[in-house]
Every structure is written in structure tokens, then in C-alpha cells.
């Protein structure tokens, strides 16, 4: 059973999402990965305004490959989420509602998700060509100098993902006990 969900997510919609749910996401989302997160985090720490409003948004951890002519975007699968963990609680406190990535999150992120009522989706790592078919349009919003690491807005239709950690902190990720 696949749930169809639309962005932006309402608080009610987030509460309805349970770890393990397969979803198809439509609407628009932000993108951002290591370098953009570092910059956003530094601005938040300094109490300065952000170049992109993140309140109510979902952010996709991705650095797409260049688009071939005739394609809206190049292959665009998720990157490892744990590298964003250091910056994530500050972004969630600022109103970010969801994240899409791959792999594990740390305790601080999960606690902040529970506190702020947020959801973490897993997209399938390495399914970049397949995922890019659901991205209909991409525009650059900020940090164009970062190239693939810039913040884009993606307009998606039926973007495939799985609720990996829900807003109660339940997780379907098989975490390692070695950490």
C-alpha cells in the first residue's frame, strides 16, 4: 500500500506517516547537502536571515549530476544523511519539516524530530536515474557558486520514498550497534 502525499506537509499529514510507509511525494522541495548545510547553519548561529526560507519545507540531500539536453535534471539519488546530522537540529528548530536522504541519523536528530514534529524519508541510494524521472523541474535558489551542492527547488511528481523515521521517533532503519 503506497501513500500519495503532497508538499508542503501539514502537521496532520506528518502525524499520519508511520515508519515503514511507502510514499509517492508530489509538490516542491528544497535540495541541499554538505556545503549548503554548513552555510545555513553558520547564518542561523549568527542570527542572520537565510537566503531561502526553510519553514514548512522538506529538504532533499542530493547533489545531482548535470542534466542531459531534454532532461529537467540529471540523475539525482540521495546522499548519506549522517553528514548533515551536525547541522540538522538547528534547521528543524527553524521550521524545516522533513528530510529525504539515505542511511542512519544520530540521536540528537531523532530527538529534535520528535520535539519539532518532523519526518525523515529514505530514498533509495543508487537509484538516481530512476528517481530523476519523478523530478519535473529544477531551479537554482541559492549558493549557485556551489554547483551541484547549490540549493535548488525541485518540482516532483510521485517521487518514491519510504518513511524511515517518523515524527514519534520510530525507525525502520537497521542501525548498527557499533556506534
Amino acid at each position: 500500500m503506497v501513500k500519495k502525499i503532497t508538499l508542503p506537509l501539514t502537521d496532520e499529514a506528518i502525524k499520519d506517516l508511520k515508519a515503514g510507509d511507502s510514499v509517492l511525494i508530489s509538490g516542491s522541495m528544497l535540495t541541499g547537502r554538505d556545503a549548503a548545510h554548513k552555510r545555513l547553519f553558520e547564518l542561523i548561529e549568527k542570527g542572520e536571515s537565510l537566503p531561502v526560507e526553510i519553514e514548512g519545507e522538506v529538504i532533499y540531500y542530493v547533489g545531482p549530476a548535470p542534466a542531459k539536453p531534454g532532461h529537467a535534471v540529471g540523475p539525482a539519488g540521495p546522499t548519506s544523511s549522517y553528514r548533515m546530522d551536525k547541522y540538522t537540529p538547528a534547521l528543524l528548530d527553524r521550521g524545516l519539516k522533513g528530510m529525504i536522504g539515505k542511511g542512519a541519523r544520530n540521536r540528537e536528530v531523532i530527538d529534535s524530530m520528535i520535539k519539532n514534529g518532523c519526518v525523515y524519508f529514505a530514498a533509495i541510494g543508487g537509484a538516481a536515474a530512476l528517481i530523476s524521472r519523478s523530478i519535473k523541474k529544477a531551479e537554482t535558489l541559492a549558493y549557485e557558486d556551489l554547483g551541484t551542492e547549490a540549493i535548488y527547488r525541485f518540482y516532483v511528481e510521485d517521487f518514491p520514498a519510504i518513511v524511515a523515521i517518523d515524527s514519534k521517533g520510530n525507525s525502520i532503519l537497521v542501525q548498527s550497534d557499533k556506534h
Binding site: 515503514g20 511507502s22 556545503a35 542530493v62 547533489g63 545531482p64 549530476a65 548535470p66 542534466a67 542531459k68 532532461h71 540529471g74 540523475p75 539525482a76 539519488g77 546522499t79 548519506s80 549522517y82 539515505k102 542511511g103 542512519a104 529514505a122 533509495i124 541510494g125 543508487g126 537509484a127 538516481a128 536515474a129 530512476l130 528517481i131 530523476s132 524521472r133 554547483g147 551541484t148 518514491p160 519510504i162 524511515a164 525502520i172 532503519l173 537497521v174 542501525q175 548498527s176 550497534d177 557499533k178 556506534h179
Partner: protein, 283 residues
Amino acid sequence: MEIRKIDAAVVTETVKKLYLDMNYHIGDDILTALKKASETESSPIGRNVLSQLIENNKIASDEEIPICQDTGMAVLFVEYGDRVVIENGSFEEAVQQGVRSAYIDGYLRKSVVRDPVFDRINTKDNTPAIIYTTIVPGDKIHILAGCKGFGSENMSAIKMLTPSAGIEGVKKFILDTVAYAGPNPCPPIVVGVGLGGTFEKAAMLAKKATLRPIDSKNPDKRYSELEYELLSEINTMGFGPAGLGGSNTALGVNIEVFPTHIAGMPVAVNICCHAARHKEAEI
């Protein structure tokens, strides 16, 4: 002794083709292993993930777009015949130009930054490639090329074990490294293991092991049995495809070995995602 002249442009064109080919078309060894995994996978989500990966590889191949957006850092193992002379350029620059052309003309992502710590500015052409060259007798150049994504590269580890650790110590370090990586390196993974040599030799062997077809075995029966044992053990860990649970955490374990010092037993584990991209060519 007869010298063979090879034009630098031939080297460049060969390297370019290797990088376009590996990024668009997954190897038969990986595709066969993914299909086999989807038949044996115990978890329904895991089966779904595997079928999406197989479909993804078909889309990439049909449309000639990269399998994964992380088109990696280029690593090449070269066996350079000692009777070869490069004309109209240098071998090093010819290889770098091949990588540069593939990444620019082939819509591959440029993922290399000039300085690792301070400014981290993108070189915009995915160079430099990392080239390991061995001089061998002969008049040919053999190139084994790979592109290494960093989701899995970051999960790799090396340890300078000492002889008393024995085979149990080796197994424990490999399994601990895979368990520590958990769901992060895009399982089902390929595990490259380098045993012996020195600190850097072990790491190079581990890298080379990730580029060996996963349907091949170490020629020494003791090590091929260890490859099989480790693979079975890893697949009981439960991480499964995409780390969402299941019975296929790894597609293969490849071990490469080298003589070492009386005091040492280095072990390096280079983890590679399911998009284990490698191709070879001879000029």
C-alpha cells in the same frame, strides 16, 4: 628491443570511453548478482529496493545517463609495458584529459575539490584522477579503471593488526567495519579487502579488490573460502538492501593479498556500493 609508439590521443580516447561506459552501463557481474539477490531476498521492502535498482540500471543504460549521481573519483590501475613510448604528450596528462573529457562531455558529476581542508573549491572537471602505475615487461598498456563514490568510501577502514591476531582478528575487523557502516554505504555492498603489504599497500589492494568482478574468486582456496564465509556472515547482519532490512547486505567479498613483514598483518577494508563501477582496456 623494439619500441612501440602510442599516441597520447589514443590513451585519452580509451580512458574517456572507459569512464562513459562504466558510468552508464553497470557490469554483468553486478547485474547478475542483483538479479540473484532479488530472487533470494527475504524482505518484501528489500525485494522492492532490488527491483528498483535493476530498473535504475536499465534506465541508465538505455538513456546513457549515470547510474548514480555520485560518479565518483577516478582511480586507475595501470600496467605499463616497458617498451611503450607515448608520442605527442605525456601518459599522465593523457589519462587526466580522458577523465576530464568523460566528465565534461558525458554529463557526469564533478565531485573533486582542489583542497581537502581549507577552501574546498571544485576543480570542475573531476580531475585529478588517481593513477597507480606498475611497469611490466611488454609493449602494451593495460588499464583497470574505477570510479569511487564517497558514500561507501567514507565507510572504509584500515587496521595494522599484528600476527597474534590471527585469522579471527582479520575476520573480526572486516565484520566490525561492515557492521559500523550499517545502512550508510548503499547496500547491498561489495567489500574489497587488502591483506598484507605495508600500510598503503593494504589500502591499494583493498581498492583493487573492489574492482575485481564479484563472480571471480581469489585463486588461493584458503582465501576464496574466506571470501565465501565472510559474505555469508555479512548477509546474516540484517541491514539488507538500502539498509531497510533484509538478507542481502553484500553482493560479494573480494580479497587480495600480498607478502608482509614478520611483525605485521595489515588489513584494509574498502567498501563499495552496489554500483560497483569498473571497466578495463588494453592498448
